[in-house]
Amino acid sequence: MPYFGSEEMVKELKRALSNPNVQADRLRYKNYITKVIRYMTQGLDVSALFMDMVKASATVDIAQKKLVYLYMCTYASDKPDLALLAINTLRKDCADPNPMVRGLALRNMCNFRMPGMTEYIEQPIVAGLRDKASYVRRVAVLGCAKMHSLQPNTDIDGTIVNELYALLRDPDPVVVVNCLRALEEILKDEGGVVINKPIAHHLLNRMKDLDSWAQSEVLTFLLRYRPRSDDELFDILSLLDSFLQSAHAHVAVATLRLFLQLASAHPAVQADALLCTSAPLLATCGAASRELRFAGLCHVQQVMRSQPGLFGTHYKRFFCGYSEPTYIKFRKMEILVELVNDENVALVLEELRSYCTDVSPELAQAAIAAIGRIAQTYSEKCLDILTGLLALKQDHITSAVIQMFRDLVWFCPQSTAAVCQTVEACVDSPQDSEALLWLLGEHGDQISSAPYVMEGYIDGLKTELSSAVKMELLTASVKMFLCRPAETQDMLGRLLHYCIEEESDVCVRDRALLCYRLLQRGVEETRKVVTGPKSDPSMSVLTGRQEEPISQWASTFNTLGPLSGCDLCPQTAVISAADQPSSSAEKELLPESTDVTLSSPDDTEEEISLSLGPPLSHETFEKMWLDLEILQRQTMGFPRPRTALDTLQAALQLVKIQTLAFTPGATVPWKAYIYTRSTGTLILAELLQGDQHAPGIDESLVVSVKQQPVNQHAIRGFVSILKGVLQTLNVDSS
């Protein structure tokens, strides 16, 4: 930010700095230099003083030296030719008897980010690596990395790399860790520093001497090491055991990540480690600093993806404090929803209810949404609370509650009657009318006052701004007309008239025209188009959350991923999923399944290859399933395999088909949702047996396939592979 009159100021400073009288009075001289730095900090361009500042570097006062070096580091890239003048002084300082001065000079010399610097700093760095003072060695080691980053595309200097590897045995712990950091930077393109057995064991033995930053970083480096045998593995784990309970949250979490990775073949060990770390994690969730608390909560959420029960007894720890920021409260509520069980449901609901009346509307709505999610399991208790909230007559609360009602009716049809009763009692037009209109349209037959409420909306149509509401109103009115024609006919006419004749929004007009023409085709035709299912019982299959395997999230644990709510490195997630070998038992069960699949007789098409790719979340799957059209529905001609569901899942996994969810074995109709990827498309499919709408073929399995983007060839391949697997399983089990 250039200040008014800044040029004057720079000139004045220049005059002062070059004044021999000032230079003679060292205190005054230093004050001027401080002034220069102050202006620099304020964003003023003082690079014009470079020459004078270089001169000032020749001083015995170390504080002044530091200031001048800071100045030079800032402007070196702008004035490379002038910066070279300072190099001599710096190089002289690098040979100073005082290690402090040596270190300082070397560090700053490496910080000059300008081309051509390498030739000047290489020799002092190499000398610094062998310095007897560890302070200088620390600086020199990182200097190697800085030197490399100045010229990223040059060949790696083998001697320096070897020297750094040798310095891993340095007595000073910070030098050791700096070596790792530097090697990691230098060997970035080759996959970073190599952790072999001697290095790993050496690092493990030094762990105790390191400070907490270094510990946490070394633990991350150790992720690369694969122990040769189980004995070695357990030796390492017992060595690291105490770090699981470290006083520093970041060390405890880093240790946990290492445990999860090393013990990926020993689920019991993983579970133990999670149990051990639950105390420090919980402590982090109550840390004094809100950011750490947030990080702790995010990691708790990750752990809960695999071990939902781990924090069950500690649910009270996730009650929100009054002064906590909203981002913490949101996370806590999400966790509370997951922790609900038969014993604590009353207390959790009581707590959530008290948040519903919070002054922040966002928070209140989130709390209501949380209750709504719990309602999918404990509908009665939640309905009572939600109904109670309606009595408050707060707009934002009412609209959130109505939205929850809509979702609830969709997911749990058994609560429809209760919801309709409540809606009946409270319908004095809330803010968010979309959800209410949907409810009225869908269940108008059960809400006696529905037409009158709807009429209110139609009368106020001219003042309605949102086109989404208008469209919902159109659909709802048509639906209502179908079940209660006498009461609705007149207002539907007015509504259509208005929307076709006077509405300016094209979407609304189109929708109105569509409704109008539909009605012209007759009531039966309209009914066929407009009325869909009133709820989707199959969706309840998806809402029950499965326990995910730990490997699903372990790769992003203790990174920024869990905090920003998205997987920042999906690549690694893919690799870990593909690397994971299916357990040997599954292979024995299905020795020839793959062969059969690929050479099955009806596989006349050329082979297509399926791949797993990153896992889909339930929410994404659900959304896509609802959005996409069914491309192919095929009757398999045989019932589903009578094998255990685990086997089915494993068999599908073997041919690269992921199972998302399935109903328990004995239920009718039986359903399973599966998905896979193939040459750029994503294939989603539903397996259904015993569909009541098609009683004739109830013993046969029906597969419905959806896909994005469409690729018929891939679908045919997918179906034939699927058929092959299922047939093989049938043969095996019979």
Binding site: A133, T559, L560
Partner: protein, 423 residues
């Protein structure tokens, strides 16, 4: 961890200090930070990680400053936050209070410190005790010749320098327990925990070896003294000077202490204890006319202890006026800037009960703004008492030179996050 750069900003987002450690980010990236923050704040979608393109801003707020770390790598978030807080701790140690003013006044020292605590994005020396030995605030004085790097920078015992000498050798030990309590509006205890810590002030010469004995339950079980009164500690964390292996083996706490003040250990107890000070409150609001508040405070600890400086903060509507108070003890006063009544009781003996009544007028025109339901908060301090019953059985000082040293132990229980929700 690799933080590419660290910034200190004022509340408006103006850069006070910036340090570009790695040179792989453009310093001007920081200009994106404030606009994103403002937008997020409007959407009530604030989070301690702000993302702009491939740049991640991890920030904390301290008094009127933002400390922001920029990183391009997928780093360990907890580590970055811990580091930023460590930075705050170091600055606070140096400047007493860390705020915009102190940063502006001491920017030279700030730069010096930032140079030492981190290099190329990696934390280096962050212990403020060690830093204080070679970066000093002699601001305007002239230093001729540089200080040597203190032995501690390279020492095996990195937390204590050699050759410390005192005329009188003493150790002061404070056992401080703070009680966190959350009580629902209906009067049921939602959360109650005790956070304890043992603080040391060491005035000892040379390299003394200290041994601390507590009435630790696990220790008593090992030594077969189960009958004595003991305490079960959870989540025990020690200063790095404590030999963890010995603690694991036989629960002995032995260490060479850092010089001066430090925190030796901390622990947590989840056992529910009776809330030390119990509050019953009735807040009746008669719209457009008045608010009547009745608060009953009861001390539920033994009568031989006394709570000092008890301060009970009761929320009142922000538009209340003309207060009237009546108390059976202590002083009540209205604190309009906090919209609360503060009831102060200098000394509150155990097993007693006191009352306070307050009466406020309300304006006849009601404001539309919905008021938050704020909790009643209580602050207190009970000396010579620990809720958990933890006791220091001995503190042995073994010095090679064999000098006599005096240990002093003090117990305090105080309120932590002590909240009782109101209706």
């Amino acid at each position: 961890m690799a933080a590419s750069a660290i910034f200190i900003l004022d509340l408006k987002g103006k850069v006070l200090i910036c340090r570009n450690y790695m040179g792989n980010v453009n310093i001007n990236e920081i200009d994106n930070f404030m606009p994103i923050m403002m937008k997020r704040e409007e959407d009530a979608d604030l989070s301690p990680v702000v993302i702009h393109g491939s740049t991640h801003f991890l920030w904390i707020k301290h008094s009127n400053l933002y400390l922001v770390a920029i990183t391009k790598k997928n780093t360990n978030a907890a580590l970055v936050y811990s580091f930023l807080y460590k930075l705050v701790e170091v600055f606070t140690e140096y400047f007493k209070s860390l705020e915009e003013e102190s940063i502006r006044d001491n920017f030279v020292t700030v730069y010096e410190l930032m140079d030492e605590v981190m290099d190329f994005g990696f934390p280096q020396t962050t212990d403020s005790k060690i830093l204080l030995e070679y970066i000093t605030q002699r601001g305007h004085k002239l230093e001729v010749g540089a200080p040597r790097p203190p032995a501690t920078v390279t020492n095996a015992v990195s937390w204590r320098s050699e050759g410390i000498k005192y005329r009188k050798n003493e150790v002061f030990m404070d056992v401080i327990e703070s009680v966190n309590l959350l009580v629902s509006a209906t009067g049921s205890v939602l959360r109650s925990e005790i956070l304890g810590c043992i603080k040391l002030k060491v005035v000892l010469s040379g390299m003394p070896e200290l041994r601390l004995g507590l009435n630790d339950k696990v220790l008593f079980e090992i030594t077969g003294r189960e009958k004595s009164k003991s305490v079960e500690l959870e989540d025990v964390k020690f200063h790095q000077c404590v030999r963890l292996s010995r603690f694991e083996n036989d629960r002995t706490i032995s260490f060479i202490p850092p010089d001066g003040e430090s925190e030796l250990m901390s622990y947590r107890l989840n056992t529910t204890v009776k809330p030390l000070i119990w509050i019953e409150s009735v807040i009746e609001k008669f719209s457009h006319s008045r608010v009547e508040i009745k608060v009953k405070a009861r001390s539920q600890f033994k009568s031989r202890s006394t709570a000092n400086n008890v301060s009970i903060l009761v929320p009142v509507p922000s538009d209340a006026d003309s207060p009237k108070f009546k108390t059976t003890t202590g002083q009540a006063k209205w604190v309009p800037e906090k919209s609360a009544v503060e009831w102060n009781i200098k000394s509150f003996p155990g097993g007693k009960e006191f009352m306070m009544r307050a009466h406020f007028g309300l304006p006849s025109v009601e404001s539309d703004v919905l008021e938050a339901k704020r909790p009643i908060t209580v602050k207190f301090e009970i000396p010579y008492f620990t809720v958990s019953g933890i006791q220091v059985r001995y503190l042995k000082i073994i010095a090679k030179s064999g000098y006599q040293a005096l240990p002093w132990v003090r117990y305090i229980t105080q309120s932590g996050d002590y909240q009782l929700r109101t209706n």
